[in-house]
């Protein structure tokens, strides 16, 4: 088993790697798409802006490598935070329209407040609970309404409710976990969510 954490120049990957190691996995960080064929699992982390991220991913050739391994080799892929958002077809951060990886139908738009008369501050930073929408191996062994750590200003508006595994409430109900076949995404940071986060990672590692 070998977990490849994709480095496309956008964020600190050390804590993601440490968390996987804490879960007993062998994890390595690489900025070379050719290394994808050595991996049993792919992880797409990310902190930052959609447009910048896709620019880096495409210019390095990661989009091709990811799609090849996911679609042809059936390798499980986990997107974390911005990484989950990149799975979408389009993102609208920064006032522009950017192409995503298009692995799960949907668009990434800014969080907004639908709940009347509550203090609403963006970005959504802090612990918040996920509400399971359907059973899925990625959510195994998690208690109802488990809390995870979120930091984001945009959310993944999924086109199909079948792809939404859990929602979270902040201003509105947004997908906190998405999944289609072996392509999965979590809006929160499992590597910063203590024991609950480890359970998500372990569940992901069990996909093979």
């Amino acid at each position: 088993m070998s977990v490849l954490i994709i480095d496309y120049g956008m964020c600190n990957l050390g804590s993601v790697k440490r968390a996987f190691e804490e879960c007993g996995a062998s994890a390595f960080i690489s900025d070379n798409p050719r290394d994808a064929e050595k991996a049993s699992h792919l992880v797409l982390p990310g902190v930052g802006a959609f447009g910048d991220a896709m620019r880096n991913i495409v210019s390095a050739g990661w989009d091709v490598a990811i799609k090849k391994n996911v679609q042809e080799q059936n390798i499980p892929l986990l997107g974390i935070c911005l990484g989950m958002q990149l799975l979408a077809e389009k993102g609208f951060e920064g006032g522009g329209e950017h192409q995503g990886l298009g692995l799960i139908p949907g668009e990434v738009i800014k969080i907004y407040n639908q709940t009347p008369a509550t203090t609403f501050r963006v970005p959504h930073i802090g612990w918040n609970e996920i509400l399971k929408k359907q059973d899925h191996p990625l959510l195994n062994k998690l208690e109802a309404n488990t809390d995870f750590y979120f930091v984001h200003s945009y959310f993944f508006q999924a086109s199909n409710s079948a792809d939404v595994l859990s929602t979270t409430h902040y201003g509105l109900d947004f997908p906190s976990v998405v999944g289609r076949d072996k392509v999965m995404g979590v809006q929160f940071h499992p590597e910063k969510s203590s024991r609950a986060g480890f359970q998500i990672l372990r569940n992901f590692l069990n996909f093979n």
Partner: protein, 236 residues
């Protein structure tokens, strides 16, 4: 180290074992500040932060002596999730805007230490409470928000370490002014103090140290207390 009113520091023990304990004691986030760094003109200790970050599986904020973009970059690379800046903001407020632009507002926590003078007037202090700045915390908080701070950590120096409660008036005056999250710090002595900060003063979060270092009270019990009084807290 823990102090009272930013004075009379007491040694609490070394850092790494404390981190491991906190990991299992259900704290939601950790804030580590090197309090003499600015006065000693020292750079942050990246090696120590790296070691700590390796054992920290909740968000980690690191501060103390942060003066430049280079410092912020190195701290984030060492494993900090957020960087707290205090003294440098007064001489170089551009650091906040540049930091927010380059790394995202969510990485930048502006830390504001406040003294309440005998006449009831509040003033911001820098360099671990040693140097007055002449600035009013409300105006300063507003300016830091405009500059791009993602969160504000407000510490009332006069209450810090006393375990007599947070300065509710101070915290509320700031949460009434800014739209970004405010973390209340300084004075927690019992769980009810935290409840007051989170409800009456509208803080988004509470930071505490003495109460956990020097009494039998625990973060888990604190969260249980808050939950029974209707405050949304992390469960697991």
């Amino acid at each position: 180290m823990k102090g009272i009113g930013f004075n009379s520091w007491r040694r609490v023990g070394s850092l790494l074992p404390a981190i491991k304990v906190y990991n299992t004691r259900q704290v939601d986030e950790l804030i580590i500040v090197d309090i003499t760094a600015s006065a000693d003109e020292r750079e942050p200790d990246y090696e120590v932060i790296d070691e700590i970050a390796d054992e920290c599986f909740v968000p980690l904020t690191v501060g103390g002596g942060v003066k430049s973009i280079e410092h912020i970059k190195k701290l984030l690379r060492a494993g900090a999730d957020k960087v707290a800046i205090n003294s440098s903001c007064f001489s170089n407020p551009e650091l906040v805007s540049r930091g927010a632009d380059l790394f995202g507002t969510q990485c930048i926590v502006v830390s504001i230490d406040v003294v309440k003078h005998a006449d009831g007037r509040y003033e911001c202090y820098k360099n671990s409470g040693k140097i007055p700045t002449g600035k009013n915390p409300i105006d300063w908080a507003r300016e830091m928000e405009l500059r791009g701070a993602g969160e504000l950590l407000i510490t009332s120096i006069h209450n810090d370490g006393t375990m007599k409660g947070y300065d509710i008036d101070l915290i509320k005056s700031i949460t009434d002014t800014v739209g970004i999250p405010v973390i209340a710090s300084g004075g927690a002595g019992k769980y009810e103090d935290m409840y007051q900060a989170l409800t009456t003063a509208h803080a988004s979060a509470v930071a505490a140290a003495s109460i956990f270092h020097f009494t039998e009270q625990t973060p888990l019990e604190a969260k249980h207390y808050l939950r029974t009084k209707g405050v949304l807290v992390r469960k697991n």
